[in-house]
Symmetry: D2
Subunit: 257 residues, 4 copies
């Protein structure tokens, strides 16, 4: 297992749980969550990075050894997403960018077409691009051809905690796309994260479920273990589902012997 | 978490994954699985304990610090289950007993009524009784009144790996029975085990899914982490499921500022 | 299809939807529901049958050609269920009886053991017995040996509308018991009723979902059609589930020709 | 109910089950299936319409009063889809067209982007356009703005019979798009069709599940009833799902009175 590394964006990570930094009851709890969950990469909305003022800045709460994945939250078009990505890079947030282009304020579903356009431009500008998409094979194939780092399909709308409701479509992406598939959005419990990993996802991104738990650091620890559990099960190969029972113990004739 | 102990059968255990010892490709792999999964209790079919001969005995493969939970596999009536339990105790396997009374050889479903009878007798004889049952509230209440240590409902038939197909009934046992509920049978993946723990089960018993994986020690490790993940999520309280999205990141007006 | 009859309790019915008569906004809507749903059998709680007074009696609202299946609702023991059945027969409600023995007032789950006892006595007394049970194979086999008319497992607790949450257990009853299996309780939508019939149930019993719909007669019509749809699909044999797509239309080379 | 009509493509239909004509064991069974299922609209792959030769032509098997919805199966680009649509119209198949643009031969998933392009062109050319898409809100909104007649999201890949695996995404289309939503692909059983209608779909399209049943006319009849059942349940408003039981019958004190 020691060499089972997640290779994305030019990096090698031991940990496969990426955490979002929104919605926490206070920023000051974030370092504890990162520590307990062992996460090595976090997403950050640029707006939470206070580039100018004296106010507290979320970056102060992220340890130096943790990778930043700025997201383009707030962008409604490809053009806006590109601008936000460039501002983030200029602000020393690195060259990773999670693309979110959202026009729908009720379900926060990504606009796949604008996301495609932004991804193409940003890959050409040298970014390491992580697009958040609705799980659609033709879009994922186009993204793969552009040279993105991973494809990040939603499991369910952001913040709903419904789990991987799109599992049939996500399984197809895992089967057909030669890039890491990272489920982002909808994961509400550790069992959901484990399921994603058992299916063959390379990582998961979790925010709401950790940030809004009663005890976020403990929930971060739970998700970390679930992701590891799911990954190990994938590597150890789960047994097939059967319709008839299959005895674990010898069944008959005990007392006749 | 250090004081979050599983208290059953007069013992306090840190680990909540109980493992069955059937179906492994060879007995010699069992110590490695126990080590990797950190399990502190294993079920054993008495028939696998060779009481008389020179042949290899499964007990040689179970570390001394691991609790034994002999099961009455092979019993078709309460009377047979009682006899098997007494033989196990006489053979120095301790006073724990997992009651299995099964008359159905196709799905291996427990006979709740015979299980009830055996449980009553064995509690009176001073055993620590762990009955394997079909999830039925009235039976669980009777078992509780007899003084058993836990109630062990099936998630799905033994060896099918289908997961917790009885979840609505298991949730009711968790809500109504003032004893540990331990899902036994049907758990096929770590995500299933995590789900059981998130629901409020106190432990799970897994056999087929570990024993028949390509890599049983790694799968044991996976299940151990999943059980811990589910337990921590239960303690940290999972967030509610919602129908509409709930933004993790600030959504609008980024570029207007 | 004209000879696809439901044979239960010494009768032959064309319709496979049994309706419960509780919870309707008014008794006067019941005849319309029965007409629209084409149902030929209804369950009635004896208490709703006013044996003595001048008050309106639910029996006045049931057409003469509709079979009565009095239930023993209110019984907490086998003995009470037997008494209620005998009162119903004495009151000219016929010899059919649906046995409900319920001690749990929160989930209204049947007590299988008391139900077994009542069933045995009532079959011996010449009743046509329809026991409502938690889906447990050993109990269903015992009921079959006593000579009941059908086994009626719950899909989910009464009134929850959750659907057939016990499907794995119900499928086993269908496979192993040589009697009609009739899902009773939990069916909340026509699609649930269709699913039960597709699985091989011989009939379904629905009450809450019809009685508490905005438009009960229309919902009764919907359930009738769903039950017929599911039955026909069972007879016409549904196609297997596949993992890969299978083209309905010729796929390639259209324009090359 | 007599005025509950499906209004699409400039027509008013009483029946909400559209049938595909591929995969039947023989063309000669199709009229019987259409009769039994009461369908008023069928999809036809243009290639099955033999425009030139003396060979039997599928159009001979479709009654005159049945609407034709030629599909563009075989198209791999928007341009090809447009050409096929024009050929169909020139061959007197009318101005309805179901757009299928598929580049993926393993799962037969639609290419949403090419489908969008073809839809725009064909609406401008005066066609009544029915696009088959992966359920994605931004694409559905674009289609709505172009003036298509309906949006046809897949429930699961064509021919898999898995049911509405995309239900969370389909529900969002129903909520947000002011056009009929018609689930197309994946529906394997009448219960799936009923579920789609209960959710608020205006119609369903079924092919494989009927064509490959042992008895296609009986299965067509089953689907017709299931679609009607689901529609009526939608209109009659299904009751809410509850966690606790809710008694249909009076529960206590029967024998005390």
């Amino acid at each position: 297992m020691s060499n089972d590394l997640l290779r994305i964006g030019g990096k090698e990570l031991e940990n496969r749980l990426i955490i979002g930094t929104g919605k926490f009851p206070s920023k000051s709890i974030i370092p504890k969550v990162i520590e307990k969950s062992n996460t090595q990469a976090v997403t950050i909305a640029l707006r939470r990075i206070d580039l100018h003022s004296e106010q507290e800045n979320i970056l102060e709460y992220v340890p130096n050894n943790c990778l930043l994945m700025p997201n383009t939250s707030g962008a409604r078009t490809a053009e806006e997403a590109v601008k936000i990505a460039e501002i983030a890079r200029a602000a020393d947030c690195g060259d990773w960018v999670k693309i979110e282009v959202i026009r729908d304020s009720k379900y926060l579903l990504p606009d796949n077409h604008e996301t495609l356009k932004a991804s193409k431009v940003l890959v050409e500008k040298g970014f390491k691009v992580f697009p958040y998409v609705s799980p659609e094979l033709s879009v994922a194939k186009a993204l793969e051809s552009f040279g993105v780092e991973a494809v990040m399909p939603l499991g369910a709308p952001i913040g709903t905690n419904k789990g991987i409701e799109t599992r049939e479509l996500v399984k197809i992406l895992i089967s057909e796309i030669n890039l890491p598939i990272i489920v982002d959005a909808g994961i509400g419990k550790p069992s959901h994260a484990a399921e994603a990993m058992e299916m063959g996802c390379e990582a998961v991104l979790v925010n709401t479920a950790i940030a809004t738990a009663d005890n976020p650091p403990l929930m971060g620890e739970a998700f970390n273990q679930a992701v590891q559990a799911g990954r190990k099960a994938f590597l150890a190969k789960t047994a097939p589902v059967k319709d008839l029972a299959d005895a674990s113990s010898p069944l008959t004739g005990f007392l006749q012997n």
